[in-house]
Subunit: 83 residues, 2 copies
């Protein structure tokens, strides 16, 4: 399993409820790809969303987001983390 | 206090130790700005780093990163979060 950060653009003005709904659409199908979406952060001014997930591959993450209706090509495998 | 995600580019091939050192340079001065860097994730292949922080303003986060030697203009205030 690897960890991924993906970036979405164009979510200007999106509300907390709308982000929650989008996240739930990912969560509803994530098991089919062996992935898990941990957290998502939204800047409604710039429209940027950042999603942190685990999964078997970048392509698995992209497929889930595409099927959930919010595709992105910007998926990064973040193999190093500090806290 | 607000929450921020910032993005750095150009960290291709950076190691876990180097990321830790960079993060510690932020941590060493963050209190001067009333900020806190929570976590950082690196994709050493693309060279992207994502930093999650809290602080009083985007400018405070930018000043810390600049003084620590890794400036970025890409700082997003992520006022909405789901988990």
């Amino acid at each position: 399993m690897a960890k991924f950060m993906d970036v979405h653009s164009g979510f200007v003005g999106v509300t907390a409820n709308q982000l929650k709904e989008a996240h739930e659409r990912d969560a509803a199908i994530e098991a089919e790809e062996g992935a898990h979406f941990e957290r998502a952060w939204l800047d409604p001014e710039s429209g940027k969303v950042f999603c942190l997930s685990t999964g078997p591959s970048k392509e698995a993450i992209m497929r889930i987001h595409e099927r959930a209706g919010h595709p992105t090509a910007e998926v990064y495998e973040v193999s190093v983390e500090v806290a």
